[in-house]
């Protein structure tokens, strides 16, 4: 059904896979995601769609962070996923805003790529800022360079690009160019929270893509609920992108830890096998 037809190893624990998923490939739009299961006993978990060929294939990037992603990393070309459904969630609000900044951190770089590309196609001047802990964890740089107007790269350890965080680079851009109309930020929760803090004083609308824990991802279970401007929303059907200035970040980050103990136990047992 959902056959893996290509696999890229960016770094140990960081992978990209091309998967056969015809209906998804035909209708996917930037910002949307899929839910997948590696096998019948697996968990349902979301991955943002990093690319699609409009015919048959979608591209997914993931980092091994627990048992489910570890199992996925063991799968290779020719293997089939047990389940894959999508495209889910609302697409990014692509329009011609003028000048925009796309910030991607970690695997969020992959999720950011199609958004930056479509924003560019829509006529925007797209400044992409991508960052990682270290050079080896940066990926898709060529594609992002091809489809952005300008690219700024940061690494925490200074092994490539500028030393420091994406937020520092973003602050400079906002400071130096007065006409940034909108910012997208996708990456670890703490990065997105900090991006929102940086953009707030400049009054630039900032879209963040929340990676909440989900089960069905079609609005049925409410596991992914978040508080946005005082109102409860479901990330799966109301998001995944929300106004970063309105997100209750503490609650969001607490909820990401709901199953921390169980996740650790599952991973330990899996690694012990």
């Amino acid at each position: 059904m959902y056959k893996i037809v290509g696999k890229k190893v960016y770094h140990e624990g960081l992978y990209g896979i091309w998967v056969e998923a015809k209906v998804v490939a035909k209708s996917a739009r930037p910002g949307q995601f899929v839910m997948l299961m590696t096998d019948e006993r697996g968990e349902r978990f979301p991955l943002t769609i990093a690319d699609y060929d409009r015919e048959n294939l979608i591209y997914l990037v993931f980092m091994v962070v627990g048992k489910s992603t570890a199992k996925l990393s063991k799968m290779g070309e020719g293997d089939e996923l047990f389940s894959l459904v999508g495209p889910l969630g609302n697409p990014s609000e692509i329009d011609n805003y003028g000048k925009v900044v796309c910030v991607g951190g970690g695997t969020g770089i992959a999720s950011m790529y199609p958004i930056a590309r479509e924003l560019k196609r829509a006529g925007n001047e797209v400044i992409s800022i991508i960052g990682a802990r270290t050079k080896d964890l940066l990926f898709m740089e060529d594609k992002i360079r091809r489809d952005s107007s300008r690219v700024i790269i940061t690494t925490d350890d200074g092994s490539y690009g500028r030393k420091g965080f994406v937020t520092e680079a973003l602050k400079e851009v906002l400071e130096n160019e007065g006409d940034v109309k909108r910012v997208w930020a996708i990456g670890p929760a703490i990065m997105m929270k900090n991006v929102a803090l940086v953009t707030k004083p400049y009054g630039v609308k900032t879209d963040v893509s929340l990676n909440s824990i989900m089960v069905d991802a079609s609005g049925m279970c409410g596991a992914c609920r978040v508080t946005i401007g005082g109102e409860t929303k479901f990330t799966c059907v109301d998001g995944p992108e929300f106004d970063g200035h309105l997100v209750d970040w503490d609650e969001f980050m607490n909820r990401l830890n709901r199953y921390k103990e169980q996740e650790k136990l599952a991973m330990d047992l899996y690694e012990g096998e």
Partner: protein
Amino acid sequence: MVEFLPMKERMKREQRPMLEQKPEERIHNFNEVPLGYTKEDLFYEAQRCLQCKTSQCIDGCPAEVDIPGFIELIINEDFEGAYFKILETNSLPAVCGRVCPQETQCQETCVLNKKGKPISIGKLERWIADFARENEIHQELSGIESKNKKVAIVGSGPAGLTCAADLAKKGYDVTIFEALHKPGGVLLYGIPEFRLPKKIIEYEIDEIKRSGVRIITDFVVGLTKSVDDLAKEYDTIFLANGAGAPKFMGIPGENLNDVYSANEFLTRSNLMKAYRFPEYDTPIKAGKKVAVIGGGNVTMDSARTSLRLGAQEVHIVYRRSREEAPARVEEIHHAEEEGIIFDWLTLPVKILGDKEGNVVGMECVRMRLGEPDESGRRRPIPIENSNFVVDVNMVIDAIGTQANPIVSAKDTEKNKWGYFVVDEDNQTTRGGIFAGGDIARGSATVILAIGDGKKAAREIDNYLQSGKSLKAAETESIKD
């Protein structure tokens, strides 16, 4: 040899109860609670049936099962015949035998109910369906002439499955679209193993597939494709996507980490088999002291699941009293037997948490009952200054579900609660698109959904027989 007893003998007999797992044992496992009738029980109970000509029991059955007919076949020891008799109108007999509220349906209208001892119709139906499954008895399905008309059904719950089965038997080409990775809808994700074992649902769905119904899983209508997309490809559509969205109370603290919707809690346990974690990958919390809010069957299911996962103390917190609780009497009884604590006339007003988002308690107020409200039940009124805190570390909201807005289509109206407006033929405001089950009537029961599925199948047959087609209408309107 079993025989038909003289009327007097039939009237003399009492109802035969069904053996159950003992409460102290069953709270440690997920196995089914009622153990089923023995063959002797079956005959004993079947022989009580008066075989009345008026068959008022059938009037009480939304699935229109010929109840005296199948009971007569039981007495004749023709179990296969009894199974086929039920299947004539109901494609989910093992499910209905277990989860239908017979006490308010067929058994309520049973003549013997006047004496308070109606025939245990559900228990008989369950025995026959289980016999058929265990002996792999299949319906003869050859010789159905294809009508070359395509029907799309959205959702594989009881309404969708029933409609699909009825239409396939008439020769229609039926495709069901299911959002999850397995078919069954609420039967699968909502009802726990100890009430409805999954293998039973799987078997009955396999039987429906054998009749030619195609089920496409991993397909969210509304996202993967829209209803309007399907309208271009199918001659008619039946929307049976259920009322899947969870309701929350809207009180402070509801987004704390260990506050679950019943949907999440039960989906993890039932569909994802989290009760077998870490053998299965999906995690679930057991909680030590758990409060489940609500008074319906789903509330009972959540509470009883919590207990089986290892919670030490489980409370059901309901703002009205026992008499007003919508759960089946049998389910409340089962929960009580298992040691669930009922806090009647209690309304949660705030869930208390710590900095990490853990639940540390739940503040409630005591209620009293006032005059009847629009539902006919006495209105619960908060008693001033009666606030108190229940010591709990996990809360499950099981106060009901509502329409999920992701399924919609042009020209199909919804009411203010988001349910599709349908006429008496279950047709929406757009010709050729029908709707039934919870997404048309609001949250209800499996059997009412089955009833809707049957009715919709009949109306869809009429619609298509009259030569109409949604697909054709679409093509016409494009030409215009």
